[in-house]
Symmetry: C2
């Protein structure tokens, strides 16, 4: 089991280790992820940060995973889940689902209507699409050859306020 808590600049080293250990992110993507944690500042005047975080810690206090999410710019009640990453030694243990449940609860509490996740249509992302599909996310749009030839962009969405997903019923 993991414990959820805030992610801040003190976790920067652990986050770098986690992102590298997954092998799923390019050096540029790792740099962007760290920048977001370093300098998460909101758009002036909006009163909400552009990027928010929740972290999962294992029994030894190690960083097991994290999720970065935030309000979709220019939209009302719509939120993007930008990143979910789980340390390889904790994968297949439900950490990702625990993080996503928590984010969905937080967003539902503040009146969120719609959660959006963008991913690739490539086979390397089959597990990602299955993860979201099992949690009630549906393919709302497919943009062919968007990321590169034969690499489609998929936009997955889930409406909040509908039926809870099976995993949430047991929480």
């Amino acid at each position: 089991m993991v414990t959820l808590g805030p992610l801040d600049a003190s976790h920067r080293g652990a986050l770098l280790d986690l992102l590298r250990a997954t092998g799923a992110f390019s050096p540029d993507e790792v740099a962007v992820a760290l920048d977001l944690v370093d300098g998460a500042a909101g758009t002036p005047g909006t009163g909400t940060p552009d990027y928010e975080f929740v972290a999962a810690f294992d029994v030894d206090g190690g960083l097991a995973g994290y999720c970065c999410y935030g309000p979709t710019p220019g939209a009302q009640g719509t939120y993007d889940v930008y990143w979910i990453a789980v340390h390889p030694r904790q994968q297949r243990a439900g950490v990702g689902a625990t993080l996503l449940d928590e984010v969905e609860r937080r967003l539902a509490r503040r009146g969120g209507r719609l959660i959006v996740v963008e991913t690739s249509g490539r086979s390397a992302y089959d597990a990602t699409r299955r993860f979201y599909g099992a949690r009630g996310y549906r393919v709302a749009a497919r943009l062919r050859d968007f990321y590169a030839p034969a690499d489609d962009r998929l936009v997955l969405t889930r409406e909040l306020g509908g039926s809870p997903s099976p995993a949430m019923r047991g929480v």
Copy 2:
């Protein structure tokens, strides 16, 4: 007729006037647009700026319009057109089309494959959709109720390297 040229921090005041004069942008959107011009810095290591600009100047040197565009993060050969704004006194004079032609030429020269424009499905954006539709952009995705209830997000795309649009043939 207008003259195309670079947009830099010296045009900040004129750009603020232009954006306000259109009446099309919220104060937050105006602030974001100015931030991009102030601090357009690229993602470290990529060698390309995230946001690029082209401006149109009238015969008196006044700022008639501008376009902000850039490489779509994480994609190869795909570019977003983020903003096109034309001063109300220059609208319906082909300034927007001139700016978009220039951006398309620049992107085609560097091997761009796909141009992406995102807009709203609301009736207030009918003219925007007609503008892009007339220039070969097609609705690649519609995300219902994305921006707000009854406010869909449309993703318009045009492939580069195909047939030039009618307006480009005459250039």
